[in-house]
Amino acid sequence: MIQVYDPRGVVGAEKKATAARIQALKGLRLGILDNTKWNANKLLRELRDQIKAAHPLADIHYYRKESFSKFAAPELIEEIRRDNDIVVTAIGD
């Protein structure tokens, strides 16, 4: 027998459950995260306006990532988590 190697290295990942599905939009606070890619704002503003017209939400907050290619800042993620019940994001290339 001869020895062989796995060159991939181990991935350590924490298992997390997805959030429960929302049943109704009424009275909820909606966060919209714009990733700042070329057309993300056009897509998300239109989506915001359509949702606003169709559903009685309590509030809508619009956020921008610093860069479309980088993670949102931890402070921004915390703010979104604190002030919203549901969040929509999209890239809009």
Binding site: I2, V4, P7, R8, G9, E14
Partner: protein, 371 residues
């Protein structure tokens, strides 16, 4: 803690196994045959990395695999590296895994960017890197296998497999290997790392997410302006990523061009400032004259004008042009190397030295400069 990949770094196969084919079948190759790692070769590489096989040097995105010293050693052996290349490969991987570089984005993007490595200082000569004739091409083991080791790590540990976590539309040949050294021997301009505050006797590795080099020909000009105007011409298109996404780029002066520039008394900052001042597009060009709808372009700095005739620099400042002298002594050629854009910052990292910022050393933290 859930472990998604094999925890067993090594196992055994029958002695009759064709190991080159075995590594192909496992999907651990970049497409070229790998050097089958033997316990002896891995041990020698590991010793050069400082031992401690389980020590995690970095986690490599987007797969976020743990790059232990043993895993790094295995990939280096597979690439064909000699143990003396270890400090360069390790420093390059640490630079690539700095947050500012955004390797996660570089690996995953549809753009063709690949990390470019430029090594400065005495280690380049010590390990036999090619900074001269055909430096970006084949024929030199150190250049070829250092770049290849980086790519194997990005594939195997980072998971940047084409079509899976690497979504590049086209890729480019530098994704096999893209590692060179600066030609410091000719002494035409100060070495790159000295401009950034390191001592000449320090060794560094520069990494930048880069498109392939674009050749710049000028066999006519006998002054800096004429040569640099040709480079400006290569820079002043709206097709490369810098034009629409800002960020950083590199310019490589071939030695004949650098000699003319140096003899005229021009220094590095003169060259960079001339290029920055004279290479540009108009906003109309990068906005397609609003033919497809009104364009603002959020990837460009807020301080750029947005009138059709507003001047749009290729990068936001002369400091975002990274200047190197590389190549053979004959031939009046240089090269422009566009970057990926504002999404990634180049990183300059010291290779196992003692540069101390407190002693008037480089403008860096922990051996790493965010450029």
């Amino acid at each position: 803690m859930q472990l998604a990949a094999s925890q067993i770094p090594a196992s055994a196969v029958p002695a009759s196994t064709d190991l080159v084919e075995w590594y192909y079948e496992k999907g651990f190759s970049d497409g070229l045959p790998v050097v089958p790692p033997t316990p002896e070769k891995v041990a020698a590489m590991l010793a050069a990395l400082g031992g401690e096989p389980e020590k995690v040097e970095a986690r490599v995105p987007p797969r976020w695999g743990a790059l232990t010293r043993e895993v790094l050693a295995v990939n280096m052996v597979m690439a064909g590296c000699k143990p003396e290349y270890a400090p360069v490969v390790r420093a390059a991987m640490l630079a690539l895994c700095e947050t500012a570089f955004n390797l996660n984005g570089v690996q995953a993007t549809t753009h063709m960017a690949s990390p470019l490595l430029v090594v400065n200082g005495p280690i380049a000569k010590k390990i036999g890197m090619n900074a001269g004739c055909n430096a970006f091409g084949p024929g030199n083991r150190a250049n070829a296998t250092i770049g290849r080791a980086i790519r194997l790590v990005l594939l195997n540990v980072g998971g940047g497999w084409p079509g899976e976590l690497d979504k590049s539309t086209l890729g480019h040949p530098g994704k096999y290997t893209y590692a060179v050294a600066e030609n410091e021997e000719l002494g035409l301009l100060a070495p790159y790392h000295v401009e950034k505050g390191f001592k000449a006797e320090d060794s560094t590795v520069f990494v930048m997410a880069a498109e392939p080099p674009h050749s710049v020909t000028n066999h006519v000009a006998n002054d800096p302006q004429g040569i640099l105007d040709s480079i400006c011409s290569a820079m002043s298109t709206f097709a490369h990523n810098n034009a629409v996404s800002s960020g950083h780029c590199a310019v490589v002066l071939g030695p004949e061009h650098a000699t003319t520039i140096s003899k005229a008394g021009w220094k590095r900052h003169d060259v960079k400032q001339y290029l920055w001042t004279n290479a540009s597009n108009t906003f109309g060009q990068v906005a397609f004259n609003h033919r497809y709808g009104k364009v603002y372009n959020r990837s460009l700095p807020v301080w750029y004008g947005r009138e059709l005739d507003s001047r749009i620099p290729v990068v936001p400042s002369a400091e975002n042009i990274h200047l190197f002298v590389i190549g053979g002594e004959a031939g009046r050629f240089s090269a422009f190397i566009p970057g990926w854009g504002h999404m990634s910052s180049p990183v300059l990292r010291e290779i196992e030295g003692n540069a101390d910022p407190a002693q008037g050393g480089p403008r860096c933290v922990d051996g790493t400069c965010y450029l």
